[in-house]
Amino acid sequence: MTPPLLEMRDVTRSFEVSAGLLRRRRTLRAVNGVSLRLEKGEVLGLVGESGCGKSTIAKMLLGLLPPQSGAILLEGRSLAALDRKAVARRIQPVFQDPYSSLNPRKTVGAIIALPLRVHGIGDRRERRARVFAMMDRVGLAPRLHASFPSQLSGGQRQRVAIARALITAPEILICDEPTSALDVSVQSQILNLLQDLRRELGLTYLLISHNLAVVEHMATRVAVMYLGRIVEEAASETLFGRPRHPYTEALLASVLTPEPGLGLPDTGLGAAFPNPLEPPSGCAFHPRCPKAMPLCRGTPPPARSKDGARVECHLCAAAVP
């Protein structure tokens, strides 16, 4: 069996946060035992509320943040053992905020050409030609080549970020909320662009979003994250058609509110997102879960896998003995 293109195995990452002067530093478990597989050609959607650890996963997959335990494997080889540049040639990011992901002091042309220069690809003329070709491909007019990011609209900026990510022809794109900083009208343009590029270039995406509509539109498989753990993972149709975890159910129900797409809508779960510094005992979701049982308070739920779907919930554990 060939190993998956990109895989996380039981990865943990915590941060030491100081609660204030003279207070003890405390450990915040941002990612707590996450296993994920990204197969070639698929779009894996990763959804979850703000602060559940999605961006931390993205940073680790990009090699920007080392995991504290567990392993990240690129085609079966540990990311930590690979050369940084070699990883960069295969995995590239698209960040959420195109206002902070482009250096304001550089022209669009220089921003897109930077990866080529770093990797020593081509001479000046060749790089220039490749930059213009890539700009055309992502829908940027050639006259923007000498513009600065401050002169571009949000959608244009995100196109620049996508062009920069794709200029070295990577296989995997880690998109961390690529549209949530954009106007609604521009969001679908960028999503369509990403969709087209994936088809043309045979890319693999990890698509992080807190907008379920975006994920449903794009993803082939979806992982739902809650407080540092993946609580449910299934093929897109399965998850949207028949959610099994109560948290997924709540998320889906909330999408049916009149205003979809405005960030993560009210989950109808009442209680606020728990303080990640003091995660609840047992199942981390139990304080907000409408179906919580006494068991949930004390024992973390076991993971159940079936037909490539995976869920961590006592209810499902009971249903599938």
Binding site: L62, S100, S101, H119, G139, S150, Q189, N192
Partner: protein
Amino acid sequence: MTVETFSGAERILEPSAGALLRRRVFGHAGFMIGAAIILAILAAALLAPWLAPHDPYAQDLTRRLVPPVWDAKGSWLDPLGTDQLGRDYLSRLLFGARISLLIGFSAALISGLIGTGLGLCAGYFGGRVDMVASFVVTTRLAMPVVLVALAVVALAGGSLHIVVAVLGLLLWDRFAVVTRAATHQVRQLDYVAAARATGCSTARIILAEILPNIMNALIVIATIEMANAILLDAALSFLGLGVQPPLPDWGLMVAEGKEYMFFSPWVIAIPGLALFTLVLAINLVGDGLRDLAAPENRN
């Protein structure tokens, strides 16, 4: 592919970024006045050999303490009069501009390199490096600049090189503190993460991605420290511990003239006024740069 190209119609009506910047620079009175004065002093310094009517070191003991031309006893032979050794004051003033500018510029450059380097490392790497850098800055802040300068110059002698070195090695703290804070802020931005994700080396990230974005603040500080160095040099010279006679340093001219100031007040008024004008102009330019670089003024 169904990707529409943006026509950019919304930008056609706006003037270009360069035109906007030019308009703001020329509209800033303080900056323009300061820049004009500095340019004039710079020109005077560079053209001193051609502008000066006499050799600034040539003494003429028969013509000592001649008043300037606007005085009844003055003459066009020495437009700003002569000093106690009969040297032409205008010539000394012109050549003195070279020393002040040289000291201000070199000291700001040296301290800028030290402070910026330290601040970049502290802000980018954080952790231990930051702790060490903060300790070094604190140590430096605990040393009274004037006393240390006095002690070093008293021990090592007061040549131009030593004064520049001492001031350069003492005035970097503001650079370090500001660079550290700015670097720390910029390094959290996604474009630094993007650069790291493309495999950029750390040196390249610091020098090509971060430094250009904190340059505005550094230039403002450079003007402050330049003015600071010029004033400190004048103070050291006045105390007899700066550059040594017969160099036509403005501070030294004030010091040498102080015994004659009651009967010949111009001997201290003229170099004092020159110092005041230069420092004021530098500060005006610094303030102007800060205003022009402020984000709320940016379009």
